[in-house]
Amino acid sequence: MTRRAQTRLGILLAAPVAIMTIVFFLFPLVNAVYYSLVDFNGINPNPAFIGLANFAEMIFDPEVWHALGNNLIWIIGGTAAPLIIGLLVSVLLWTTRRGATIYRIIFFLPYVLPGVAIGIVWGWIYDPVSGWLNQGLTAIGLGGLARGWLGDPNIALYAVLATAVWASTGFVIVILLSALRNVDVELVDAAKIDGANPPQRLWYVILPQIMPVFLMVLTLTLVGGFSVFDIIFIMTGGGPAGATNTIGTYAYSQAFELSRIGYGTTLALLITVLSVPFAVALNRLQRRLSLDGTGA
């Protein structure tokens, strides 16, 4: 095969990915940047060009900062809780022989349920009048704790976050369990003989070996925290009075409830700008660890 033929073949083979990248990534991105520069209400075919006005409004919009604060809570809680719970449960399951498959199915099941269904069902559970949670608390003498979980601005975000943690922990467990299969058990046994207790074995022996996979899961949950939308939208709609708004729900509200597509798109771009550096940095760290030969 001549060099020219090789070049043609290379172009041909790369073309599908290049075209898909252009159509499904670059074109929407350029489109989004365009909409962020115009005052588009969703129906006017010739929206007015307003330059950086949407970006200026975003910076001085107090609701953006409030929503970002909620995103931060979500990123920290929604990343740390599933990872910690998932790591502990997966290590327990790793050492369990009997019924391991059943446990895996039980823990993974919430992850495969549609987010909408989870939101609706947990909405029933949290219902202040007929919800199981309040009824259960009352039945065991803790009626004083019963409240409108999704209607209290101080609690609603955490109630939704708890649901999200419940739904996503199964994913972490299954992925980490797969990684744990490649852990060198002899190293763990050696540490045990040397007197390392279980937390020390987990921290110093097991975790370094599964670190690339752990970082991959961390990246996914972390980036998910920036763009979280569906479960909040289903369970609270961003309310009460915007108390559970994240940038995602606030962008939706601006774009589709107030017909401010331009401003909503600007907010959506903010999510991208904030999340991409984290994803890239974690991805590089993961690759470096893999190249170093650490982990699974």
Binding site: P45, W149, G239
Partner: protein, 419 residues
């Protein structure tokens, strides 16, 4: 090879551009002149959807025009409709809200068919006040489906068992609600998780307190939304909530769940609209009364408004069939069917003699007739007349009051700011 690549690239570009370019006419590409596409939001009760399907079948049988029904979740209606209309692939006819933030916005963008001539040609007998609500910039762009009012449905059996009479003033209502609460029943089945219910609550309390003329002043911007009357109305909601007269944590309760509390007798009063009358009668086995939210010094007035309306896409290629469909909807026969089967009140005069209606709905029809012919004072359901920005401030504001995040003065200031 190079030639093949160029051909492939051109073909792909053409396909991409074709995908990005809208069609040229409504109806989703169907060219059959005797077939139209009709888009509506999902009704709350599936039984209502069955009624609509039966009505469309009757229209097809009478005219030979087939109606293809598309149903989308109501909360997605705005997004779906705007996208379809802008793409030129929208429905020929669609049901949509009549307010300035809804049909008004579509008209402003030139997406609605001008029905002014059709009104003249067909002599459609829509009430004047209703016709005004679908007239934008001098053009009539729709036919209103029905008249709605918001007020208080109450459980007569609970009131009788507690020795309570129908409240005639705000003090009566408050005293009755106190007795109901002390008996272990929730006085008001208030929901506000979705947010829009707060607008109805404010509409009914405020309308009764200030009267129809003052409501017009507020809506027109002649009176400030920071006026003491508005603050007082918001305070009524705040105090009822803090006194335990509303559902616990109303901002955590959905509309359906609050209705279920009323149906099951766990709540005595349901503050909502006449559109729920049929569902109430389907679901309860106790007597139900329907009254306006009382004022300080009297029984108060209902807040009236239009429900949704029917509109034709500006790009439809089947205007004749679409207008025939609208014409079908304003016939006397259809109006009587609407009253009897849907228990909704047409936005045009209908001879109701001989119509079989329950006492509850008979009362609602009579009250609505006063709204329609202008013989009685009536208030306004604010959210169908205001902008999206105002509505958002109102809905968020009332949620903030019910959760203690803001007081009445702050919310009134927000309303004025967002007017």
């Amino acid at each position: 090879m190079r030639k093949q690549l160029i051909v492939a690239a051109v073909a792909l570009s053409a396909m991409t551009l074709a995908g990005c370019t809208g069609g040229t006419g409504g109806g989703g590409g169907d060219s059959d002149p005797d077939s139209i596409r009709f888009l509506i939001g999902q009704p709350e009760d599936n039984a209502d959807l069955d009624l609509t399907k039966a009505d469309l079948a009757a229209f097809t049988e009478a005219t030979g025009i087939e109606v293809k029904l598309d149903v989308v979740p109501s909360e997605n209606m705005r997004t779906v409709l705007q996208t379809q209309l802008r793409s030129g692939e929208g429905p020929d006819v669609f049901g949509y809200d009549t307010g300035p933030g809804f049909a008004g916005a579509l008209e402003e963008a030139g997406l609605l068919y001008d029905l002014t001539d059709a009104y003249a040609d067909n002599d459609w007998p829509i009430y004047d006040f209703a016709q005004e609500r679908v007239t934008f910039g001098g053009k009539i762009v729709g036919i209103p489906n029905d008249i709605e009012s918001v007020g208080l449905f109450y459980n007569k059996d609970i009131f009788d068992s507690l020795g309570l009479a129908q409240p005639e003033t705000l003090d009566d209502l408050t005293a009755a609600a106190d007795v109901i609460r002390d008996s272990g029943v929730i006085p008001f089945a208030v929901s506000d998780k979705e947010g829009w219910q707060g607008g109805h609550l404010l509409s009914m309390v405020l309308s009764s307190e200030v009267g129809g003329d003052a409501m017009e002043g507020l809506i027109a911007g002649d009176t400030s939304w920071e006026s003491p009357e508005v603050v007082d109305a918001l305070d009524v909601l705040a105090s009822y909530n803090s006194d335990g007269l509303f559902t616990p944590s109303p901002t955590a309760v959905t509309y359906d769940n609050a209705n279920a509390l009323f149906y099951s007798g766990k709540a005595a009063i349901n503050p909502t609209g006449s559109w729920l009358a049929q569902d109430i009668e389907r679901n309860v086995d106790f007597g139900v009364g329907y009254i306006p939210f009382p004022a300080q010094d009297g029984p108060g007035i209902f807040s009236g408004g239009l429900g949704s309306g029917l509109f034709i896409s500006a790009t439809t290629t089947k205007a004749d069939a679409a207008i025939k469909f609208l014409d079908w909807n304003v016939t006397q026969e259809h109006g009587r069917w609407q009253v009897e089967e849907q228990q909704s009140i047409p936005a045009f005069p209908v001879d109701t003699e001989g119509i079989e209606a329950t006492p509850l709905f008979t009362q609602i029809i009579a009250d609505a007739a006063k709204i329609a012919d202008g013989t009685g004072d009536f208030g306004y359901n604010v959210d169908v007349l205001m902008s999206d920005t105002f509505n958002e401030a109102m809905w968020d504001g009332i949620q903030a009051i019910l959760t203690g995040q803001k007081d009445a003065d702050q919310v009134a200031a927000d309303l004025e700011k967002n007017f």
